[in-house]
């Protein structure tokens, strides 16, 4: 068959109408699937979040978790989980966060202590990074690097052994995935730290908490 020129075949639309039509109908079908299954997937993630809370915040009781929306530094409302001990005392916070990784979106759960000064744990809720390289971000070794890190200054990914308290060693062959996790965590913590602190203060009797706040 000789190569027909696009013009002699009646222009782009006549050439591509099937592709356009299919793209539109597939898009509509996927929107339908997302509307139907989206809530179910969100619920699965929420259940997993609740299951992970005791691992992310030491001493937290899964059944005492309080879910709330806090206004972050950018004025958006963000979901955070208030982790309480079985006696009802504030043990810390779990912060869901997400952002672009090397391959696809990465979703994290970040555990913070009560004054949001230290990271108490980090869990990769969802990732589709390169198998055998980037997907080690979901492994226990990488995730445990984040435990007990300060929330300020921001986390930094370094190649080789970390020398400062805010440094995280990069995964070999997966620097971009490692940096993505740190960047997502940094952005989320920076956005809600103040809101969490204000909220934590309001939970305590006012005079003392004001005093404690100035003496870290």
């Amino acid at each position: 068959m000789s190569e027909p020129s696009l013009k002699s075949e009646g222009g782009y639309v006549r050439q591509a109408w099937l592709v356009i039509l299919l793209a539109v109908s597939y898009g509509a079908a996927l929107a339908g699937v997302e509307t139907t299954l989206g809530p179910k997937i969100a619920e699965n993630k929420r259940n997993e979040t609740y299951d992970k809370i005791p691992n992310l915040v030491p001493g937290a009781d899964k059944s005492r978790t309080v879910e709330m929306l806090l206004e972050d530094a950018d004025g958006n409302r963000r979901r955070v989980y208030q982790a309480l001990g079985s006696d009802g005392s504030l043990r810390g916070w779990v912060l869901p966060a997400g952002g672009q990784g090397f391959a696809d979106r990465i979703e994290l759960l970040i555990g913070l202590d009560a004054p949001a000064a230290r990271i108490t744990g980090l869990y990769v809720l969802e990732q589709k990074e390169t198998p055998g390289l980037g997907d080690y971000i979901a492994g226990p070794d990488f995730q445990s690097n984040f435990r007990d890190k300060p929330t300020a200054p921001p986390l930094e990914v370094v190649k080789g052994d970390p020398t400062a308290s805010n440094e995280i060693p990069a995964l070999t062959g997966a620097t971009i995935s490692s940096e993505a996790v740190a960047a997502i965590a940094n952005a989320a913590i920076a956005a809600v730290k103040e809101a969490i602190r204000k909220h934590a203060v309001s939970l305590q009797p006012p005079p003392r908490s004001t005093k404690n706040r100035h003496n870290p």
Binding site: L37, K40, A103
Partner: protein, 209 residues
């Protein structure tokens, strides 16, 4: 359409053994190596691939008269990607832990050559019935291939099959079988065995003739 095109039954049977996607065509090696550490992920992968293959073959066969030759691959890819996304979402909604275990391998079904090759070889040229039979045969062949490798790896590696213990509790499991090297070893040995059997059968057939 010429008379020499395979019939629905021939297409179906070819996919299972004579043109088995894994052992004869060596296609779909990524999931073959990656998710065959145990039976459960292997069977889930086989089912998800079957869903995409059947759906894509049906749609492509239905619209085969409208396909423009130079845009056909785009249409195949678009169709496959749509059904892969549906399979991915359905797994995340109803088999959440399995979906997490399979991770990127479900979205990677998009680049599984078995599916696009069936769209190209069969569905874009033959009727809906033949395309369906072809997709079912190939899916079955792929499932058998994955299951055979997963059976060897799970039994030797963990002493279980579908998570149920099948070897005596004294069996410690060859850890390497569950790890990536075990996938290459098992695939290589099973491929060799399949080839050897095939050649022996061919030799016997020519000897008789």
């Amino acid at each position: 359409m010429s008379d020499s095109d395979p019939t629905a039954l021939e297409r179906f049977l070819n996919g299972i053994l004579p043109e088995n996607p894994i052992y004869r065509q060596l296609l779909g090696m990524c999931p073959t190596l990656a998710v065959t550490g145990a039976m459960k992920p292997a069977v889930t992968m086989a089912a998800a691939t079957a869903f995409v293959l059947v759906s894509a073959n049906l749609i492509v066969s239905l619209i085969r008269g409208l396909l423009k030759p130079h845009l056909r691959i785009l249409v195949f890819t678009l169709t496959i990607a749509t059904f892969v996304t549906i399979a991915d979402k359905a797994l995340a909604a109803y088999l959440y832990q399995m979906s997490k275990q399979l991770g990127p391998y479900v979205p990677l079904i998009i680049v599984n050559c078995i599916i696009i090759s069936r769209c190209e070889i069969c569905a874009s040229k033959q009727s809906v019935g033949v395309a369906l039979a072809d997709a079912l045969g190939m899916s079955l062949g792929f499932a058998l291939g994955l299951a055979s490798i997963a059976t060897v790896r799970e039994i030797l590696g963990s002493g279980t099959w579908f998570g149920l213990p099948v070897l005596p509790s004294g069996w410690h499991g060859w850890g390497i079988m569950v790890l990536p090297p075990g996938a290459f070893l098992t695939l290589g040995l099973l491929l060799g065995a399949a080839e050897w059997l095939g050649q022996r059968r061919a030799a016997r057939a020519t000897g008789k003739a």
